[in-house]
């Protein structure tokens, strides 16, 4: 099968198309014919060696996938050959998603909703589960809560805005002025242009801040939170000084690392099926252009998620 591998850590051009044997699914697993594979910033960090999460090369990058079940090992009952599925297998261990076939534990997959094509579904798992596990599993947002999402135009942010809105929250988001139409279209009640407005002065009485930006955003979010409110950061999860500052101000702190979970995937699929969640795909490239996809994801200047097609 075709797959993208790398022989060493390095810049995007270490990524190469190669021919590898099809993986053999183990008991409890299914073999998925991948139709689209999402490209996330963490893929670039692993590729370059900045975050050597899955050991030394050679390896196959990629976690987000959407595709069709090719084969189920006897003993698996959740899916049948031909079912359309999506997921984020094995994260944070090697997921091997940039490939024609992947073997995936059945409970790390969910049915792809018909409302999404494979490109959209491949854009959803890692970013969507990050937003879901931040807002729902961790912050337990409820109707009427005031939620501030930093980077509402970004990969995690644009899904977080929709998830928060679907839960009945009042959604405020920081985004560049030229993305305000986009984030309002996603359901944001208020959009703050971070270049012309200091959100740390302009926003108050927020129950939950979700930070997908980092830098000084976490610290500047403290006065935004009501007493007892919670800062959930998908970026500065190891920042003990930030945690201390948040807690000494009488607010709560949670760093979040995304994790595979069929429950969250099913919830995201249900929202998508109800037309309450649409991942925005900005760039779709053929698998062979994985290097170009990495140049794009590292630029940080794309709009919408980047997906490889197979």
């Amino acid at each position: 099968m075709r797959a993208i591998t790398q022989k060493s850590f390095g810049d995007p051009h270490v990524l190469d198309v190669t021919d590898l044997p099809r993986p053999e699914p183990l008991p409890s697993e299914v073999l998925v014919r991948v139709h689209a594979a999402g490209v996330n910033p963490i893929d670039a960090a692993v590729r370059s060696g900045a975050f050597p999460l899955i050991g030394q090369p050679p390896f196959v990058l990629g976690w987000d996938i959407s595709g069709v079940v090719e084969e189920v090992v006897p003993g698996v009952n959740r899916f049948r050959p031909g079912d359309e599925v999506f997921g984020m297998p094995f994260f944070p261990r090697a997921g091997s998603g940039y490939a024609e076939y992947v073997a995936v534990p059945s409970r790390q997959l969910a049915r792809k909703p018909a409302a999404l094509d494979h490109l959209q579904a491949a854009a959803l798992p890692l970013a969507g589960l990050t937003a879901w596990q931040s807002l729902v599993d961790t912050a337990r947002i409820e109707p009427g809560r005031r939620v501030l999402i930093h980077g509402g135009g970004g990969g995690v942010g644009h899904l977080a805005v929709q998830i928060a809105k679907a839960h009945g929250a009042h959604v405020i988001t920081t985004a560049r002025a030229d993305k305000h139409d986009f984030v309002r279209g996603l359901g944001a009640d208020e959009a703050v242009d971070y270049r012309s407005t200091d959100f740390s002065e302009a926003v108050r009485d927020v129950d939950v801040v979700l930070d997908t930006v980092g830098g000084d955003y976490g610290r500047r979010s403290i006065p935004v939170l009501r007493p007892g409110g919670q800062l959930v950061t998908a970026v500065d999860r190891t920042d003990t000084a930030l945690r201390a500052a948040v807690e000494s101000a009488g607010r709560r702190f949670a760093g979040i690392t995304v994790e595979p979970d069929h429950v969250g995937l099913e919830a995201l699929a249900d929202l998508a099926a109800a037309a309450r969640l649409t991942p925005h795909v900005g760039h779709a490239l053929p698998l062979a252009d994985a290097a170009e996809a990495h140049v794009l994801v590292e630029s940080g200047r794309t709009r919408g998620k980047i997906v490889l097609t197979l």
Copy 2:
């Protein structure tokens, strides 16, 4: 840390106590100090080489664990140090449970209910999830359904009887006569002594058969099932001739392989907390006696689950 390893496939005496480095949990994982590790028949099959599921030795066997969270990687919010947890990490890949410490994805653990001690909780995941995923996830049993469980006195069976009863089923079970008091104490409505009674003639109009025994039990269960009823087998999942025989008789067939799932673990914990599910521990041995535990599990003549203590 102390752990049980083996240098080659072979009889129980290949199992040896060794000193290994503590595992380093990855992002999204927690480090668990193991207090008890369950011993399952599949452990013996992997040890001997009969089922080379996790590659070549050396490796550390064991999936079922119960223990205390020692450390959480920043980004994990489901648990804190000191929490009591149980689970079946990484199955069917290497779980490394026969050891003082294991690194476990947070969503492959659930809180240990206070109603169970560590020995009982370590006896629960693999057998309990097998029963749960068979009866609830796959057969979707409902109140009033007639369920026949083969081997109601066994490791999976004694948990299946309790789970079926907790779901309001009418529970029939095959068991040796000297286990009838035991299975009735678990809630079985009818116990059939398979040595004096041919269950395939004595039992009729069953909605679901769960087979934990194998051999000819699957085929002999066909006339027991009502038309449209389902045979769920945790043993003969690859038996295509059995599947064909069941389906040509107008019944449904499902083979089942257990899979880690926090949802199932949480459901089992809730049942245990409500005193509706108690794993029966027959033998508790110190970690160093892993070889003896394997002799016991291979004898097939124990009553109750076998657990190693640390």
